[in-house]
Symmetry: C2
Subunit: 277 residues, 2 copies
């Protein structure tokens, strides 16, 4: 129950209707006796910098979960950015450091990779394709590179987004082979939809499914439904898949530690969560 002593974790993005974090964190906080609550804040880009600064001047704001469309814009607002933030050029977690400094980190890539590993996918030397090079796509790219993939294809409808990500990746991972401006899945061990395609009814699929082999592992970041049209089509072709919610659950223990709360396992969080699809 929320009282005057409850701490806030602001969940900031726009639109908010597909937010899942409140239904994951809040049942865990309640079950664990942690007096905190995640609250959605629907914020348009033009209002975001002022909002973030104002929120962190509040006494009972412990941190913020940042989602689309603010993950990239957040980087410039930080006083202190983790190495992952620097590589990905995106940030999804902010807390107040010493002297009121804003400290940022990025956990979706780590969550995505943890999920793949739990499903038995070997990433060392793998060839991967990421469609969508915004905040979450950049995060996954940074984490896949750190996990040892040998080749990474990057595609975005805004070519310069893919190019900028490639430059940051190659500065940190000089032996990584980066391929730009193709979304052909042939020959890939892993294909990731990190674009918003699938958020809305009738969206086209992110890749040409006829070029997708059953040996390719397919991952998704869209969480509008547990099984998106893209994942259903991949599964129909025989591919192993990772749903968007897996990335979400696997990254939450890292967030909890970052904010300084007692942490737990992704499985425990999933068992407590009150998500309805």
């Amino acid at each position: 129950m929320i009282t005057g002593n409850t701490e806030l974790i602001a969940h900031i993005g726009y639109p908010t209707h597909s937010f899942k974090a409140p239904m994951i964190y809040n049942p865990y906080f309640e079950a664990s006796g942690i007096d905190a609550v995640v609250v959605p804040m629907g914020c348009r880009p033009e209002a975001y910098p002022d909002l973030l600064r104002s929120l962190f001047r509040l006494e009972n704001v412990r941190g913020a979960l940042i989602t689309m469309p603010h993950k990239v814009a957040t980087v410039a607002l930080l006083d202190e950015a983790s190495p992952t933030v620097q590589v990905a050029g995106a940030c999804n977690a902010v807390k107040r450091g010493a002297d009121g400094r804003l400290v940022g980190d990025l956990f979706d890539g780590e969550g995505f990779v943890r999920g793949l590993r739990r499903k038995g996918l070997a990433l060392e030397g793998a060839r991967a394709l990421i469609v969508g090079c915004g905040g979450v796509g950049s995060a996954i790219a940074a984490s896949l590179a750190a996990a040892g993939v040998s080749r990474l294809g990057l595609y975005d409808i805004q070519p310069q987004a893919a190019e900028a990500l490639a430059a940051r990746l190659q500065a940190h991972f000089p032996t990584l082979s980066v391929r730009l401006h193709t979304r052909d899945p042939q020959g890939c061990d892993l294909v990731v939809n990190a674009s918003p395609l699938g958020m809305n009814e009738g969206d086209p699929l992110p890749i040409d499914m006829d070029r997708l082999s059953a040996q390719t592992f397919v991952g998704e970041v869209v969480m509008r439904a547990e099984m998106t049209a893209f994942l259903a089509a991949a599964q129909a072709r025989g591919c192993r898949i990772q749903v968007g919610a897996d990335m979400l659950f696997e990254q939450i223990p890292a967030y909890l530690e970052f904010f300084g709360y007692p942490s737990t396992s992704a499985d425990h969080l999933r068992a407590l969560a009150r998500l309805s699809y």
Copy 2:
């Protein structure tokens, strides 16, 4: 349960530990199927103007409940102030009007007066004393004047606060007799503690209890405990009393209407509330 579709009512003040509104509104919202939540925001004065403006640029903020120390400062931030706000020089409710305008009103005085009336106190022609002329004291003064009291004593440890309130009152209620700078309760039908005295252990009582008659009705705004030291002392002298929480419950139906939510009775709200003293 909070989801991405939940609307926020920001409850802004500092400190927040004595906030009661979350435990009153939230059980009502839950019981009534209203997808909204009141969340505490501990905001220091220097951070407040930016915070208020930023919050009202959020898509899912329906309104704000304003409490100490921001009720007076809010008036200057409004685009549109109700007559009560103008008289009291204080505001405790803000919503977004047309074109994003900030619209403010003030309900504690109305809540206080409704509570007195329900207890059978006749206010027409009554003589009242208010100790504390900040936001809530000013609100009660405005509502008592509108309810027809004939004489109003105003006392504040900052004399200019009482004087400024007196000037605003007399501009709107020219026949009202205002007495300044005395907190002698003798001869009063009603004495109100609208000061923070009682918020902290060991606070002195707001008036000299030896001068208090059993015929005087005594009201309190402090809600730290159901029965404050002041109310206990008044009751021991035989006075009828009104606890701080009564003002709170009686004003909430007015707030709900102001925000555009389905309203209910103070008794219904009290039955649902999860307050612990």
